[in-house]
Amino acid sequence: MPRPLPLYGLMAEFDTPDQLLAAVKQARADGYRRLDAYTPMPVSGMGEALGTNTTPVAWAALAGGVFGGGGGLFMEWYANVVSYPLNIGGRPEAAWPAFVLPAFELTVLGATIFAALAMLALNRLPRLNHPVFEAPRFSAAEVDRFFLCIEAADPHFRPERTRAFLEACGAVSVSEVPG
């Protein structure tokens, strides 16, 4: 007898983002914690309903801005005042007004790079394979279908009960995602 495949979770398909959002809220209220929704476009309120914390992205951007701007200003001062001071046009060695624009550009550069990298790192991307891609009809998640996956790793997960719960939420179909 073949061993049963390990289960990643149950994937429910919904017609509209509103039904999905209601199902996510209901699942969270019922005590499910390891779940994720998959949508073709950002749905406002979905991240909050799932309890996603996006603040680290903002902190990363701030850190990148401080690093870029502070580092840039320090570099300009060090180069023109400490490392090799030169009299150029009779202007002061520490020409702060002139240092502003490069430092500002480096602030923007640092904040952008840090924000983008933090977004990818927190999302664990790039990751080209993922169990949810094996769910039937999942490719429609990038077109016009809305999915909710409750993972088998959730302590609250029971195959029959969870399936019944998802169907009660109005799912068009519920399918198993092999792990």
Partner: protein
């Protein structure tokens, strides 16, 4: 949005994907027209390479620049190109931060335009160097000579501005495109396309947690791209405003240049939008309402630019400074009158048609006005840069400037490069953002 919806009510999510991804995966019509455009612009790219080769081989003396006018159309074109780029970031970032959802149909190709125009602009500062192979000396790095670039020059600032602008635009464009790459990966049928778009999508799966962080990062980058746009073109304006030359040394230049930049950029966006609508049939996505709003923006930024013209002339007269007044006279009635009045007429006369809502929705009129503005802004940059240099403080150092054939070849070669790369872009990447258009669609449906 009280003034109406930007997308038709009968448009479906599936229809949006089919239209945008279809333009990439199953391009309409035969491939001949596309190949013809690619080939024609490819010839211009070849001309660009020839003119760069000759420039590097013989030196900058092959250009028409001389000792009073040592910044020729190389520099005025830099300003023109980078200015065109600014509307892309303006649409992407400023309109995102201010919650203008109609931007969602326009931002992708506007960002592509930014990236390409900024690339064209960024070539000139290296090409016009007498010794371009030492261009890396403007980049600060610890070296065995113990020398640093000096940070008091706007040319040095512009290295930072251009480098940052290109990098940030690229990141913003790519981050915005990750979800659309996933949509292309999942709708493509050929294996090769699935692999290529799959790699570019980085494994995006539309997870709500991912969307939340994506949105946060996207908005943060947009919010800092707003001051970036202003600073980049202000930095470009400071190339002139920081110098002592009459006709350049003006405090109005930074905002005046930024507004002119957004003005010319919107004009190019209008032309590209009209072409995309016609070629790909994107009338459901880039609707008449989008064109109407673009026309309003063009009119608004144009009127602000015209205010800059008036104030620039007024302060020159009001300064009672003979050299400032002399430069103004050169522009209005002297050897540069042709470029001055070309700029005034092309920029502001056809523009007045856009007061009429009906004409803002008439594509031939919009295209003609946008083309006039694009040319007019070219004349403006030319007039501002060259007229000030050719006749300034010492009459013994007055001299004319006539761009040489090599300068024109380089310029038209860059226009070809822009068209070549943009033609490739619309063929292989989604010209309109798929996910963001659907977001607007759902929002408008709920209202």
């Amino acid at each position: 949005m009280a003034e109406g919806k930007s997308l038709p009510a009968d448009l479906s999510d599936r229809g949006v994907t089919a239209q945008i991804a279809g333009a990439v995966l199953h391009p309409p019509g035969s491939g001949w027209a596309w190949l013809a455009v690619l080939g024609a612009s490819g010839l211009l790219v070849a001309m660009l390479l020839v003119s760069i080769f000759w420039l590097f081989f013989k030196g900058v003396g092959v250009w028409g620049i001389n000792i009073p006018v040592n910044w020729g159309i190389a520099i005025s074109n830099t300003v023109w190109w980078i200015g065109i780029g600014h509307a892309g970031t303006f649409i992407s970032a400023v309109l995102l931060v201010t919650g203008q959802h109609w931007r969602n149909s326009l931002n992708r190709f506007a960002e592509a335009m930014t990236l390409l125009a900024a690339t064209c602009a960024a070539m000139y500062p290296v090409l016009h160097l007498g010794r371009p192979f030492y261009f890396y000396w403007v980049i600060p790095y610890p070296n065995v000579m113990h020398v640093w670039p000096q940070f008091r020059s706007p040319l040095e600032w512009d290295m930072f501005a251009f480098f940052t602008y290109l990098t940030v635009s690229l990141i913003f464009w790519y981050v915005g495109m990750i979800p659309d790459m996933a949509a292309l990966r999942d709708t493509a049928t050929g294996r090769r396309r699935q692999v290529v778009y799959g790699l570019m999508a980085l494994g995006w799966r539309g997870s709500a947690a991912h969307w939340a962080r994506w949105r946060r990062a996207y908005v943060i980058v947009a919010a800092i791209a707003v001051p970036l746009v202003v600073s980049v073109h202000s930095g470009v304006a400071l190339l002139f405003a920081v110098g002592p030359i009459p006709g350049w040394h003006s405090t109005i230049f930074p905002p005046y240049f930024v507004l002119g930049a957004v003005f010319s950029g919107f004009a190019v966006v209008v032309m590209l939008a009209i072409v995309l609508r016609a070629v790909f049939g994107f009338r459901d996505l880039i609707t008449d309402r989008h064109m109407d709003l673009l026309g309003q923006w063009l009119l608004a930024t144009g009127l602000m630019t015209s205010y800059g013209y008036v104030m620039d002339a007024f302060t020159a007269w009001y300064s009672a400074e003979p050299f400032e007044r002399g430069t103004l006279l050169d522009r209005v009635a002297g050897p540069y009158a042709l470029s001055y009045w070309s700029a005034v007429v092309l920029n502001f006369v056809p523009l007045q048609l856009l007061w009429l809502p009906r004409l803002r929705r008439t594509m031939p009129v919009m295209f003609a006005v946008a083309l006039a503005v694009t040319l007019g802004m070219w004349f403006e940059r030319y007039m501002l840069v060259e007229s000030a240099l050719s006749r300034d403080f010492l009459p013994s150092s007055w001299g004319p400037y006539v761009p040489s054939l090599w300068e024109w070849m380089l310029f038209f070669g860059l226009v070809g490069f822009f068209l070549f790369a943009f033609t490739l872009f619309v063929r292989f990447l989604p010209a309109v953002p798929i996910a963001e258009v659907k977001e607007v669609l759902h929002e408008e449906r709920e209202e």
